[in-house]
């Protein structure tokens, strides 16, 4: 039984078709990647799932329940957490407070939210920086903070929008380990990623988006041998 089912969603902006009849399913407990060139519609699909705007047509079911047309806070409350490609930290709050804000979704007291936030900061290597203002963080740390905040809402499905971009290879490998650990604990993950190193290491299923359409689906090994994908996105000389 799939946790998330996206069925035939389309979205246009001023006549430009950003997403065209896209369909895919995400089984519970898996790690999935959505790849494709810039402008292929990946972030638009994320925003539609997260409720930032409704699809022009099509439907989205999460745990069997329709979630298309819900507003962002309702989608989050339903159990879908997300990060932003362009990070959006609460700059004036500390790292810990940033994560506490997410924690309040499931905890009503400040003590509860703080305890939940502290537990999340540790594996993301932000524990030592918990009392710094978020504005003082470097970009890799801000990416981790995005993840920590989303995790604090205790999602069943986590949408990661290019969290590896800008990370060094070793940092990227650490993040991969963090997501593997979370996945072992039962978290389902859908990531948009350009860093193929992370996609190959993490994803069990990969979907390729091109001009708003899903042009290929399969395991990472199948995808990198797919002639259509090589032509439209990865390039002939890709070595992995």
């Amino acid at each position: 039984m799939s946790l998330l089912a996206v069925r035939g969603i389309s979205k246009s902006f001023r006549g430009l078709r950003a997403v065209s009849d896209a369909s895919f399913e995400i089984p519970e407990g898996t790690i999935n990647a959505l790849i494709g060139p810039n402008g292929a519609g990946k972030t638009t699909i994320f925003n539609i799932i997260a409720g930032v705007f409704p699809p022009d047509s099509g439907s989205i079911f999460f745990g069997g329940r329709p979630v298309h047309g819900l507003r962002p806070h309702e989608v989050c409350a339903a159990g879908i957490g997300r990060t932003f490609q362009i990070v959006k930290p609460f700059a004036g709050l500390t790292v810990l407070e940033n994560v506490m804000v997410g924690g309040f979704l499931r905890e009503s007291t400040a003590e509860g939210a703080r305890a939940a936030a502290v537990r999340i900061l540790e594996p993301l290597q932000l524990a030592a920086k918990r009392d710094l203002p978020a504005s003082a963080l470097t970009l890799p740390d801000r990416k981790r903070l995005e993840v920590a905040r989303a995790l604090a809402t205790r999602p069943r499905l986590l949408l990661l929008d290019e969290v590896m971009a800008g990370l060094r290879p070793t940092e990227c490998d650490q993040m991969v380990e963090v997501f593997r650990g979370l996945n072992r604990e039962g978290l389902t993950i859908l990531l948009i990623e350009h860093v193929m190193r992370a996609v190959m290491a993490l994803a069990q299923h990969v979907g390729v988006l091109h001009h708003g359409e899903v042009i290929a689906r399969g395991t990472p090994q199948e995808i990198v041998r797919n002639p259509g994908v090589l032509e439209s996105y990865l390039g002939e000389d890709t070595e992995l």
Partner: protein, 320 residues
């Protein structure tokens, strides 16, 4: 006892003892400072905590003042009854403004303009409301002022001073509790980045409405105090935009979003502007509008040199 609560206890004791050493003039200045500190604190809930800029808070002072004064003037009902009507009307108006703005995505400068517009509409409306005196003003009978008549909130200046001091302390406690609660964190998240706040499950519409409701209810109480302290109300004065600006200068100069900023800002502004006016008068110079020029200069200096207000650096120095 922490450093902060110890300092607070000392400050409280000084303020309670203050009238025994102060003359009538000093007492009236102190009452004015507390009035601006309290009202600034109320405004700060909306702007400092939740990031929603209101430039029309005179609306709530005015409606609160007229509600309580009207009941007293026409029916002899004391402010303890009027207070509830004032709070009810102000929260209702605040929620109307908030609903129109937040439901239709009006934010930032446009939200600020909407708050000015509502204060202005109301000013013009009250100019035509003869039942409450219209442009000629509403005057409350000034009874003899030696004994404390708490049911009708009539008494000597000392009573008003202590009433305002109690309100200030109450507001400080309430705001510090709010800031450490779920509401406080949610408001700050909305202030810092509304889109990210929504993505974390925050119904930003609802929490912004709550900030407006609390802020307008608190400001309504300022209005009731104003009516019974000054005993005369004119729409042209109480709803005027310059009154709205006066309310927000304290928190801006003291430090938006901080708990002590509004208090410190009100004290600094009132003391310095009164000092300058008096000083110039002593030299034989009566310059109309000097107070406004002074406000402008102070605002400019604070924005240039201490954009977070004067309280944050002081708090760091005192390790509070």
């Amino acid at each position: 006892m922490t450093r902060t609560s110890a300092s607070l206890a000392i400050l409280g004791a000084v303020l309670v003892a203050f009238p025994f050493f102060a003359g009538n003039y000093a007492l009236s200045v102190a009452t004015l400072i507390l009035y601006f500190a309290y009202t600034g604190q109320a405004w700060n809930v909306m702007m400092g905590f939740a990031g929603q800029l209101s430039l029309g808070h005179a609306l709530y002072v005015g409606v609160g003042a007229y509600a309580a004064a009207g009941l007293f003037f026409h029916y002899g009902l004391g402010p303890w009854a009027g207070l509830w009507l004032a709070i009810f009307l102000c929260v209702a108006m605040g929620l109307v403004v908030g609903f129109l703005a937040f439901r239709f995505g009006i934010s930032g400068v446009y939200f600020a303009l909407l708050t000015i517009a509502f204060a202005e509409f109301t000013r013009i409306g009250f100019d035509h409301l003869d039942w409450l005196g219209g442009p000629g003003g509403l005057f409350l009978k000034v009874a003899q002022r030696d004994s404390w008549d708490l049911p009708n909130f009539r008494g000597p200046p000392l009573m008003y001073y202590y009433a305002m001091l109690a309100l200030c302390l109450l507001a400080l406690l309430v705001c510090s509790r709010l800031l450490r609660s779920k509401a406080g964190y949610y408001w700050q998240a909305i202030r810092e980045n509304e889109e990210a706040a929504q993505a974390l499950g925050i119904n930003t519409f609802r929490w912004k409405m709550l900030a407006v409701a609390i802020s307008s209810a608190m400001t309504a109480v300022s209005g009731v105090f104003f009516a019974f302290y000054y005993n005369n109300l004119f729409p042209e004065q109480i709803f005027h935009i310059s009154r709205s600006i006066e309310i927000i200068l304290g928190p801006i100069i003291g430090g938006i979003g901080t708990l002590f900023g509004p208090i410190l800002g009100a004290a600094v502004l009132t003391l310095l502007s009164d000092g300058i006016t008096d000083g110039l008068a002593a030299l034989g110079w009566e310059i109309p509008g000097i107070k406004q020029v002074f406000y402008g200069v102070v605002l400019l200096a604070v924005i240039m040199f201490l954009p977070n207000g004067i309280w944050p650096p002081i708090a760091r120095k005192l390790k509070l």
